[in-house]
Structure formats: C-alpha cells, structure tokens
C-alpha cells in the first residue's frame, strides 16, 4: 500500500513538474514539441523516475504545452509550436476582428474538453487493438518498413520522400557501424539530430555567403500584441461557459474521431478535422470560433492517442507522435528498449497495466488543466508581452546549441556531437528541399534500427 501511495505521489509530482515546465515552454514560439518533449522525457526516464512518473511527466507536459501554445498564436500571430501552425489562420482572423481573447479562450477550453475525452477513448481503442498486438510485434520490422514508406508517401515530398528514405537510412546504418567501431552506441543523438535539424540547416545556410544574403533582413520583425480583455470574475472560468454546447459537442466528436486515427500526423488531422467541421457550419463567426475550438482540441487528442494507443497495445512506437516526441516512453536505452534481435520489449508497455494507463493518463490531464488553464486565462497578455520583449531568439538558439553539445558529449563524446551534426544537416536540408519531414526521418531511424537487420537476414538466408 505504501508503495502504491509513493508511486501515485511521484506520478503527481512529476506530472506537476512537466505541466509547469511545458506550460512555460509553450509560451515561447518555435519550440517544437519533439525538440523539447523528447529530451526532457528521456532525462526523467534515465534519472530513474518510476514508470508512472515518466508517463505523467510526458502527458501533462504535452497537454499543458498545447494549451499555452495558444498564447503566442492568438495574441502575437506566431505559431507557438508545430501543431499551432494549423490554427494560425483562424486565430489571425479573430485577432484582426479585435477579439483575440475569444480565440485564446476557445482554444484552451477546447483543449481541456478534448484532453479529458481522449484519455479513456485512447485506452478503449488500445484494448480493442491489443489482440492484434502479438502479430504486429512478430512482424515489427516489416510493420516499421511499411509505416515508414506510408508516412513518407503522405509527406509533402511524396515519391521524393519515399526514395530519399534509402540514402537516409543508409547514412544512419553507416554512422552506427562507424561508432560501433569505436565502441560507441548512440540512440538519443539521432533523435536530437532529427529534432534540431531545421536549426542546424539554418545555421549552416547562414555561414554560406549566397544563402546569407537571402536570409538578410533590413528591419526588426514587427509584432502587434493584441489588447488585454478580461470579462469574468475569479481565477478559474468554467470552460463550458466559454464554449457553447454546440462547440463542446463538435470538439468532443473531433477528439473522438482523431483519437482513433492514431497513425496520421497530428498537424494533418488538425487541418482535416477543422475542414470537415467548418463545412457543416454556415455562419462565418460561428464557423470560425467552432473550428478553432475543435482544432485545438484535436492537437490534444492526437497527442494523447498517438502516445497511449501504441504504448498500451503494442509497446512499439507505431505513430508519428510515438516515433517523435513520445519516443523516450518506448526507447530510452539502457532503461527502456525494444530489442529487435530477441523481440524483447521493455518499456512502459509492460511496466504499467491498462488500468494504470487510464488512471495516470487522467491524472496527467487533470494536473495539466489545473496548471495551464487558469494561467493562460489570467496571464496570457502579460506572458506574451514578456516573451516578445525579453526572450531574444538568440537566447533560444543558444539554449538549443547547448543542448546539442551536452547530449552529444554525454552519449558519445565527440562522436555523439558529430552524429547530431551529420543527421541534423542531412535531415534539415532534405526537409527544406524535398519535404522529407521530421516524422519521416524518425521512421527512417526505426527502419535502420529494426527493419534493416531483418532485411539483411532475409537476403542473407
């Protein structure tokens, strides 16, 4: 009994920590989910937090971040993170109508409603899929290969991305062989390299004279900060009063549907669900506000479902979120791992049971809502103003460069840093030139680690 109480308290504490940290990170625009969630969750796992605590840290962080990302999106017109790019157009319309506070409140209320719905639904879908788990585990290398090809085809690059998988996977295999020669085995470095790829590519471009001229700007960038309006009393406004019954219904439907479609990219689902809901509403203001509510709900439900369903049902990272931001829940060597040679899975999948996933999932969502919802409702304007005026982009870049160096040296010394640099440069330019995006790159990594040995075994036999 004491053990359980300790476990719950640790889970609560780490969930609270995740919610506070990522609520703050969400305010800073450009802080991609993968770049921030993956390394910090990895750290929590490696420091030996109990499995439930690792889960609550990640989930509460993701949910809180997708609430506070509404602040720069609604008030400054810059997307808070990758998922928020899908909300920018709607948010800008509302901002220019002079009601950015409405955009903000609808977004975070939609997020709260969707997050609460998504946890039990994800667990339900996972239970329904679990019987197929053994088959999928048995054919995991081929499932990953198929998933990589599918995700590549549906990326912006289409066939270019599919074909680019070959050299990309080859480079990863080659780098692994090289580091193995020096007795170094890397995993986190590949993830971090992929996650910071756009930054590394930008910095290299800046060093090349021609590209530098193209990146040159004459003026400071202009941001217009929307005015502050508070129209309720107290600290915790009721989300069901902020969004009307129809919006609640639409958000619930969107959250349910997007919980089931866990293999698609969250940004794509956010766009598509918004379009479907929008086409059913005639009046422009009603459409705008309902769509933005539901869309931010979808950014929550996809993240929750895409992390929980593969985790509960298979233990293999078989969704874009599971392969990217949630990767450490599956793979945080030496603590959590998926071993291809023996088919052994040792991660949250076997360390927590279904009821624990449900309970700790709901705990994370509730903690995140209690932290991020009232904070955003009450301090959005002050927070946006502080970030825009005080946090320079140089300092954000400096932090990430520090992260690259520390993680690289920590995992593999100088070799680690060089691998991050290589993968980052290659991934960054492939993404920029042919739309070979981060999701495809993560699947490329899994193909190299899981599918390639199987392919070699097959052709060698």
């Amino acid at each position: 009994m004491e053990g359980l109480l300790y476990e719950i308290l640790m889970a609560f504490g780490l969930g609270l920590l995740g919610a506070v940290v990522f609520a703050a990170i969400g305010l800073v625009s450009g802080t991609d989910e993968t770049t921030t969630l993956a390394p910090l969750t990895m750290l929590v796992a490696l420091l030996g937090a109990p499995p439930a605590g690792v889960l609550t840290f990640f989930l509460a962080g993701a949910v809180a971040k997708h609430m506070t990302h509404a602040v720069p999106t609604a008030l400054l017109g810059i997307p808070g993170d990758t998922a928020a790019t899908a909300l920018l157009a709607d948010a800008n319309h509302l901002r220019r109508l002079g009601v950015p506070h409405i955009a903000l409140r609808k977004m975070i209320s939609g997020a709260a409603v969707a997050a609460v719905i998504a946890v039990p639904l994800s667990v339900l879908f996972a239970v329904l899929l679990a019987p197929f788990g053994d088959v999928i585990k048995e054919f995991a290398p081929w499932v990953f290969l198929c998933a990589a090809l599918t995700i590549a085809y549906f990326s912006a690059g289409r066939w270019a991305a599919v074909l680019a998988l070959v050299p990309f996977v080859l480079v990863i295999v080659a780098l692994q062989t090289l580091t193995a020669h020096y007795g170094v085995k890397l995993a986190v470095s590949y993830f971090l390299g992929i996650a910071v790829a756009p930054l590394i590519a930008s910095l290299f471009a800046l060093l090349a004279p021609d590209e530098r001229e193209r990146m040159r700007r004459d003026e400071y960038r202009l941001f217009s900060l929307a005015p502050d309006v508070k129209s309720w009393s107290g600290y915790f406004p009721n989300p069901f009063k902020v969004i009307n019954p129809k919006q609640t219904r639409m958000t619930a439907v969107a959250a349910s549907v997007s919980s089931a479609t866990f293999v698609f990219s969250p940004v794509a689902m956010t766009v598509v669900m918004g379009e479907i809901i929008g086409s059913r509403i005639k009046q422009a203001y009603d459409r705008l506000t309902t769509v933005i509510t539901a869309r931010n709900g979808v950014t929550e439900s996809t993240y929750i479902a895409e992390a929980l369903i593969p985790l509960i049902a298979f233990g293999l990272p078989l969704s874009p979120v599971a392969a990217g931001p949630a990767a450490p829940l599956f793979n945080a060597p030496p603590r959590f791992f998926v071993d291809n040679a023996t088919g052994e899975i040792n991660n949250l999948h076997n360390l927590l049971n279904t009821y624990e996933f449900l309970g700790y999932g709901l705990l994370s969502v509730i903690v995140a809502i209690l932290v991020a919802y009232p904070f955003t409702m009450n301090f959005a304007h002050k927070a946006a103003s502080f970030v825009a005026r005080k946090v320079s982009h140089e300092s954000v870049i400096a932090t990430f460069i520090g992260l690259v160096l520390v993680i690289g040296i920590w995992e593999g010394g100088l070799l680690g840093v060089m691998v991050i640099l290589t993968i980052g440069l290659l991934g960054g330019f492939l993404a920029r030139l042919i739309g070979f995006n981060m999701g495809v790159q993560f699947m490329g990594y899994y193909t190299a680690v899981l599918s390639v040995p199987a392919i070699i075994a097959l052709t060698g036999a």
Binding site: P39, G98, G278, H393, F400
Partner: protein, 178 residues
Amino acid sequence: MNQSLAKPLGAPTPPATTDGRTPNLYEVWGDTVAGRDLMLSILLGGAVSLGTFGLAHVALHQVVESVQMAKAYSMLVGILGCLAGGVASAWLFKPKRLVLEQVVDPAFRQQVVAELLKEYGSLGRLEELSPHVVAELHELGLYELFREAQAQEALVREADAEPDRHLPMNASLVGGRS
C-alpha cells in the same frame, strides 16, 4: 515557420540600434537575429553548458557511487547549464522585435469579413444561429458588422442573379457562363 503577419497600424520604425551602427539582421529558424549577437550567444551557450556539464561530470563521479547515476545527474546539471546559457544571452542580447500594442481598427474588421466571405463563399445567416452565439456577438459588438455584411452579400447576390447577359466577365460571382 515563415508566415506573413498582419500589418500593424502606424509606420514601422527602423531598428533601434544603441550604438548607431546598423546590425546585420538575418532571419534564422523563424525569427530575426543579429549576426554578431547570434555568434556570441552560441559561443556563450556552448561554453556555459559544456562547462557546467564538465564540472558536474568530474565532481559527481567522485561523489556518487553508481557510475550510471553520476552520468544521468551530470546530464541534468548540463541541461540546467544550457538554460543558464540561454538566460545569460537573453540578458545580454535584446530581442530583435518591435512589439506594438494593437488597437482595433474598424477598417480591419471590414477587411476580415471580406476575406471570410471569399474563403467560405458565403457568410451564412445570423438568423440561423443559436442564442448563445447571438449573445456572444452582441457582447463583442460584432453583431452589427456581420448583419451589415450579410445584407451587403444578399444585395450583391440579387444583382448578380438578374438575367443580364451583357455583364462583364468578372461579374461571375454565382457562376455565369463559363
């Protein structure tokens, strides 16, 4: 990450340089930075984070028993070092942004309504809204805006629907002959 922003009100002011020189401004990773500041920030961030990580690594391996834990904790300290490097450069180098407190302009609102009409094809009818949404529109002072726009749209539609076959080519809001 590049997106065009709504033009704010008032003329944009030139970059405020403290020392009179024009800084080399570049757009990197979605926002504007000054070349020199970026270089110094990266050096500072790298030095502070690696420095703290290195110190923690040496110190912790002597204090903590388990090598595994010492390694994990030195990473934690290293990540705090990254943050410290970031805070230091935020303190040294100011953002290259101009932040204007926005005031709502009625002309802006008209423009948004026109854009919505173009995007959605129709603004729909206020009469079909639920009382919740109507109350919200009244509260925000947007009801009249949409009512007028709706009346305007109906007028245009009526004018177009008239069987005038000599209309110019561009007056094909409701299809026409193509």
